[in-house]
Amino acid sequence: MIKGLNYKFLILLSTVLACTILAFFVGFIKNETIVYTHFFYVPILLAGVWYRKKAVFIALFLCFVYILVTLFSPHAELYVHIFERSAIFVAVAYVIGLVSEKRAKGEEKLKETKEYLDNIITSSADAIVVVDMDGIVRSWNRAAEDYMGYSAKEVIGTSNKNFFADPGEAEKIMRIVQREGELKNYRTTVLNKDKKPVHISMSAALLKDRNGVPVGTVRVSRDITKEVELEEKIKEERDNLNQILESMDDGVYIVSKDYKVEFMNKVLIDALGYHVGDICYKAFHNRDEPCPRCKNTEVMKGKTVRWEWYSRRNNKTYDLFETPMRNINGTISKLTIFRDISDRKRMEDDLKDAEERYRVIFEHALTALCVIEDGEVVSVANKEFETLSGYSREEIKGKKWIDFIADQDRDRVQNYCVERRKGEAPACCEFKFVSSNGEIKHVNAWIEPIPGADSCIASLLDVTELKRKEDELRETCEKLAELDKMKRDFLNVAYHEMRSPLAPIVGYASMLERCELPDKGKKYLYNIEHSARELEKLINRMLELARIDGKKIELSLEGVYIPEVVAEVVKDIEPEAREKKQVISMAVQEVEIQADRQKIVAIFSNLISNAIKYTPEGGKIDIVVEDRGEDIRAYVADTGIGITEEHLPKIFERFYMVDTSLTRKSGSLGLGLSIVKEYVKLHGGKVWATSEIGKGSKFFFIMPKRQ
């Protein structure tokens, strides 16, 4: 540089010197006083080219020399020209300097730009390759070296066909570039030096010469192997996801930002038809614009929302879960999962209704109800429980269950509760309940475990009053039972004691029969014997009734032939009828029943002797027995005085007497019909009577043939 400067500077100095001498010398030769200043333009030009604006200094120097020389010349008229020419020198020098400077600057810039571009090409992460129209590589940068493994020296001048995994690609790319003029983000696979595939994304442009004739293509490629692998992985995952979504019971769909349906799973397609590619609000809701409640905008902002949607169209409620989903290309779609919760919703409503109903029942139940948590604390109670305990609802809540139980019953009730929870105890338990003022109440408690919870429901019935009455009743019953026993014992003893004196009467009378007696004596004896028999019968009936009351009766069953029984009874009491000139007629069917013979005899005997007793002299008595298949029906009819309707239902009651005067006349204690009723009942039958006043009565019974 310094050498150059010196070299140029020396030339310039020589030129200045030469031109100056020449300028003066030419004038001197011609012998003129004129200085040939045109020679001065040569150094000015040189200085302008080499030193640019500094040429002005050369011009000024030359002007100084020129003026100096001229000042010593005798031609003063030349002074004007001197300054004029000096000014022109400076001006020319300046202009040349300026032009020269400008040109030099442009060249420098060009050079810098070229260096810069070379740097870019060399250091670019993308491979930049120039290929001529024959497919021969002409340029190969460092990035290309890096990911292909080939150095520039190795490949420049060879065909680019060798690099593609599919050799046809080379020609295809050339064709596209030629046709389109460029190629953008074209994906292909090349093989590196180790023959390993490298995925690249290539952009290419056509290179043309000055005349517009294509001379080659420049190709910029990027190694996208990792991206491609990632994409494949993403795609695989997306496929998996889609498979999951397809197989879900819930409806799943994906819509884009502009409401285009991108995906619907099988459930949805089955329900709504295939609408992928349609606009959701049009396809699903038949609207011209997005639904008012649509959450698309929110989700697009990255929010996940969950909400309930009721569809008026199919009367169903859905639980919607909507979340943003980033697609491979960076856009966001909305993934919506919706579940039909109509059944759950309905069940919830039903449950609410049921709960309300049960609450009302609980509240207004007539038993005191409360819920015991963990067998300890009372959590809820109803109105009746308030009444029973004397505490307010607020006071009851949180109170210990055990506090309501009297001390002596606590262990027992707690054990009962534990066993009840295990399902081992009976449903009901009785204990003494302590109310707020310390009053003890007897309660019947039903403790029922609530399934699936650690609590149970206790229902308490206040039986204090009931218990008091029960005690009273039991006492009364015990007293009555005692009295009854006394009565029966008394009757048994009385029976024995009354029959014993009869023994000598009957005995001696029977002996008297063997003696010689006058007619009157015989008659008296007959009367004695008759009365003794009547008395004996009466005593026997009393015994029978005493036994019936004591429930000591057992039937000794055997086949009883009814006509035989009736005949026997009639034969026995016919003398009485004959005395009263009564007619006994019989219509007894031949039937045998399973019964206690003695009882059947007693039934007929009582009915017939009753009829005889209450029928006036000359009356008629009918005895009828019918075989009705399963049972027999019998009646004894008389032509007696009859019984009024008022008395009719009561005549089978013990000691019931229709008319005391009549009773006296007939000598009955009203025991006969009572015995009939009991005996018929014992055989599973029933008795009743009909009557017409003044015409007579009919006494019926029916009795099953088999016991």
Partner: protein, 128 residues
């Protein structure tokens, strides 16, 4: 002529004892009253002492009742002939007496014919 049947009367009521004696006297040729007892205990003792052919046994008595007396006598002599006589008419008493070993049951009140019929049944049974 047949030998007279010797009879022991067990009865707490005097008037009944008298009547039975009166009745049996009607058939003096066949029956002879050999002794009396007024309770069950005495009855067993008298039976052992007198060894009668037939015993008439009241059931309701003090000290020892008739049922026990029947058992006691039957235990001593299983061949003893006993007629139970009682005003107790329920089948249970009759069954109890027969179970204890009584051979006949005569229900008070009874006629003289009832008594002799029972005695004859008893003797027939023995002979048979």
């Amino acid at each position: 002529m047949e030998e007279k049947k010797r009879i022991l009367i067990v009865e707490d009521a005097a008037y009944m004892r008298d009547m039975l004696v009166e009745m049996l006297e009607q058939e003096e040729g066949s029956y002879e009253v050999v002794g009396f007892a007024v309770n069950g205990k005495e009855a067993v003792e008298k039976y052992k002492e007198l060894k009668p052919d037939i015993v008439t046994m009241d059931l309701v008595m003090e000290v020892m009742d008739g049922i026990q007396a029947i058992r006691g006598i039957k235990k001593y002599d299983p061949n003893a002939l006993i007629i139970a006589i009682s005003a107790l008419g329920t089948p249970e008493y009759k069954d109890a007496a027969l179970d204890a070993g009584a051979d006949e049951y005569l229900w008070k009140p009874f006629t003289i014919n009832n008594l002799f019929e029972a005695l004859e049944r008893l003797l027939r049974k023995r002979e048979g």
